[in-house]
């Protein structure tokens, strides 16, 4: 069975194709160069003049796991306004800030996305995260295991464990939790909060262990690099949301001594302390440094106006921000000598100085960072805004007059404080294809996703080339998932069961003995029960596990 898409304009940055008219052939879920001599084209779809990209890849979206389910549970009012009916193919559910898993899958697919990564999977909560992702239809999924506030690692670091011992532990965690990468959230800060420390800067010591965030970052970037995990350490830095945190963020970039580092939702970490209100944009300084250091990649965590909910592992900072909860209810949890979570509903207001400036800062970062391969489009769903706002965000990036119009409508003082009005840059379709698929795929080491060369998985999105980029990206005409037409004009046409992306670095089996003692002495779960075997994960309803090769040391 061969499908041809003919006449489309292809944007495939990994293969340096920038809007060229090319036919695309699909066979058995893969893109092929052209059919063999004896093969016939079974299905020919005319996509003349359409824009063709690989399926979107979201590198940072909270789609599964405990904190999101707490957000769903505590916010019935979030769902009541957006009930979703079943169709002959799709199940019922609900949308908005903390949508049901089912609706999340359908809406991502309808928006042209085919892969999503849950960026903050607590190792001890991995089973739940994977179960939720298995109930998220249409898309492939993967998750980053959170380390850095777990007592096992902190005790190791406090006792001066060898780098090899840390590597073994990190590798074991990646395997046991079926993870794709390692995330660190407020390095050591979630742990410090359990000891009632309310602030932990890069060189502050955890009062129990004496370990600093800098040490944790060094140990974990070293482990991730040594193990050859393709995606760099994924870092949610210290001091999230605190005016002046810009300095910490800049120092964090230096703390890893040139090793690869991904700074996530950096918008929340790019705040200065200038001006009457002691809150200002640090985007220019951040962008300047990112431009200079090619070991750094970032995603933005753009804020969009409206009601959402913030769900984070960062208990320390979520506790701090609970006074801004809207509606006024919030959850904090200390979790299992592993990590924690905080859930705070939030409404970003365009007439509020701080919120409006946050919006500006995110856009400034998008527009001031030069290399689109090192910046990815995210709203830190749902923390900055629900993922369904991506098309609007894309229009803001691609259409400077639209951006200027929006800028006119926000808080005047924020507008005046921002340099946004002076920035005329507009993203091209090619650059959008980089920040929404090719870049994330490259960063994650997905060799056969995020591009359209022969051999790649046939995850393909076909857009009508509309002037209104928001409308264009809201509703692609076709979405193919592994070669099957999954969406047509916003309607789901085939249900797809996704696979799970993982890496499986090897480790010295001695670590299992040490973990057995540790678990039996201090935990309330046995390591054998903590671990998720392949068969179990597949049994939740995954079409497979894609275990990606490690980088050579």
């Amino acid at each position: 069975m061969i499908t041809r898409l003919h006449g489309g304009m292809v944007y495939d940055p990994r293969n340096r194709v920038d809007g060229e008219q090319r036919d695309i052939y699909i066979r058995d879920g893969r893109i092929i160069a052209r059919p063999g001599q004896n093969e016939t084209i079974d299905r020919d779809i005319d996509v003349t003049g359409r824009v063709i990209m690989a399926g979107g890849i979201d590198i940072h979206s909270h789609i599964g796991g405990g904190k999101l389910n707490i957000a769903r549970m505590m916010l019935p009012e979030d769902h009541r306004q957006d009930p979703v009916k079943a169709t002959a193919l799709t199940r019922a559910g609900c949308g908005h800030a903390a949508p049901s898993t089912l609706t999340t899958g359908y809406r991502y697919a309808a928006m042209g996305y085919t892969t999503c990564f849950e960026p903050a999977m607590l190792p001890v909560n991995a089973r739940q995260a994977h179960l939720e992702m298995a109930d998220t239809p249409m898309i492939d999924t993967g998750a980053y295991a959170m380390l850095g506030s777990d007592d096992f690692l902190l005790r190791q670091l406090a006792r001066g464990a060898s780098p090899e011992a840390v590597n073994d532990y990190v590798a074991w965690i990646l395997q046991a939790t079926q993870a794709m990468a390692i995330k660190v959230v407020n390095p050591g800060g979630i742990n410090a909060f359990k000891f009632n420390q309310r602030k932990l800067d890069l060189d502050d010591k955890n009062e129990h262990y004496g370990v600093t965030p800098r040490q944790i970052l060094k140990a974990l970037t070293s482990a991730v690099t040594e193990l050859g995990v393709p995606h760099p350490l994924h870092v949610h830095g210290c001091n999230l949301g605190v005016p002046g945190n810009l300095d910490t963020t800049l120092m964090t970039m230096d703390a890893v001594e040139g090793r690869p580092l991904h700074l996530t939702h950096i918008q929340f970490h790019s705040y200065g302390r200038e001006g009457d209100r002691k809150f200002s944009s640090g985007a220019a300084e951040i962008a300047e440094k990112v431009n200079r250091l090619d070991n750094i990649s970032i995603d933005v965590g753009q804020v969009m106006f409206g009601q959402t909910v913030t769900a984070s592992g960062d208990t320390m900072m979520q506790y701090h921000s609970h006074r801004h909860a809207h509606p006024d209810k919030w959850v904090c949890m200390d979790i299992e000598c592993d990590a924690g979570c905080g859930v705070v509903p939030f409404r970003y207001r365009d007439k509020n100085f701080v919120n409006a400036l946050q919006w500006c800062i995110g856009l400034e970062l998008f527009l001031l960072v030069d290399d689109p391969w090192r910046i990815f489009l995210t709203t830190d769903h749902p923390n900055g805004a629900p993922f369904t706002s991506y098309p609007h965000l894309i229009r803001l990036l691609m259409d400077s007059s639209f951006r200027d119009d929006m800028l006119q409508s926000i808080n005047r003082h924020a507008r005046e404080a921002s340099r946004l009005k002076g920035i005329k840059r507009e993203y091209s379709l090619y650059e959008i294809a980089i920040i929404t698929r090719a870049g994330p795929a490259a960063s994650l080491g997905l060799a056969d996703r995020g591009h359209l060369a022969p051999g790649a998985a046939a995850d393909i999105t076909v857009y009508k080339d509309r002037k209104d980029r928001q409308k264009m990206f809201e509703q692609p005409e076709y979405v193919f998932k592994d070669g099957v037409m999954a969406v047509h004009n916003g309607r789901i046409t085939a249900i797809h069961t996704g696979l799970t992306h993982t890496v499986k670095p090897d480790y010295d089996r001695n670590i299992e003995r040490r973990l057995k003692t540790w678990f039996e002495r201090y935990h309330t779960i046995r390591p054998g029960n903590f671990r998720i075997p392949d068969e179990e994960l597949i049994g939740y309803g995954r079409s497979g596990i894609d275990s990606h090769p490690l980088k050579k040391r």
Partner: protein, 420 residues
Amino acid sequence: MTKTTHKDVTCPFCSLHCDDLVVDNDGGRLSVRQNGCSRARRGFERPSPAPAPAVRGRQVSLDEAVTAAARLLRRARLPLISGLGSDVAGSRAVMALAERCRAVIDHCAGDAALRNLLVLQEQGWIMTTLTEVRNRADFILFVGTDAGRYPRFFERCVWNDKPLFLARQGERGIAYLGQRLNTRAGVSPAGTRPLSVSCPPDEIAAYLSVLLALLKDYDLAPEDLPARKRKQLRDLAGRLQAADYPVLVWVPGELDFDHGELAVEAATAVIRELNRKGRAAGLSLAGDHGTASFMNVCTWQSGYPLRVSYRHGVPEYDPWHFAGTRLLQRDQADLLLWIAAYGFEPPVPDTDMPTIVLGGAGTAAPDADVFIPVGTPGVDHAGNLFRTDSVVNLPLQGLRETALPNAAAVLQRLEEALRP
């Protein structure tokens, strides 16, 4: 018959889900060899029920039973799916079936669950998990409970050997607030007796409010509170403030009086106040009969934790309207599908409406129109379950050969039979 031994077995019979049991299987007869408790032994050591489905008391094949059940479901205008004693796979199957037949779903422990949920949805809370309590809690206040229904809680999380952050075993303060509580488990290994403040259950919220006022430094002196009680509460406030990581423990199922949620709310308010300067957290012991699993699955699939109706084709949430007992009492539903895979759920409700029962060992359903015996998760088949803290999900093992289907498989077959 051969004898096999299973290690690291997760116990499905209370929501602590201890996963360190050693269970012997001697020709299909199970016995708990290590790390059990009375509830585990009672659950694991029951004989396996006969895999004999019945339609109106007449034994039939599984196929016939499923066909008869599907026929009843197809005729129903508003089915109620309740009991819901199952695991994650069973809960997922319940959701698909409920959506297919436009049913209302409520858990047999729904009243207890709502005492927590109403507080979560009104104010939120600060909570903790078992391993944190085990290693960190230096003072534990039991609110309206002695945790006696969770037999290994003290062994695993209170008097455990060598906690990470406490200098020595037993270095924890224990206190109780409530009436007729068995405080013996709260005596430390060194013999230190717990603090105990006696108060009637429906005054727990009021006592906690006085405690909250004391923590806020208001010199509140309600006239009807005797001086002795005031002093006790003042002591309690002092102990809570002096502790590094006090934990308040409650069992929502035991706050079984009008507006029991107010006691939960008052406890969470005390915790919030303690967190202004120090740390403190809550721990709810709940979620038996797979409640925590069902609530999680129901939430991620529908957006709402329980008491959801699919009557109008979309999930709708209403803790009052969609209460199972209320729908049954008022004949507002017209079919009951009751799932009780553990066999320790409350009895099948007595009702005139058509009834389908999926029951584990020990489930009596003589009046059911359709009765399908099912396996018990973690005994007859593998699966997984959320623990009481709703964070840790533990795998279950199938420990013996059985001809019993699991609830998920039967529910899937029903859902398939109802597809247009």
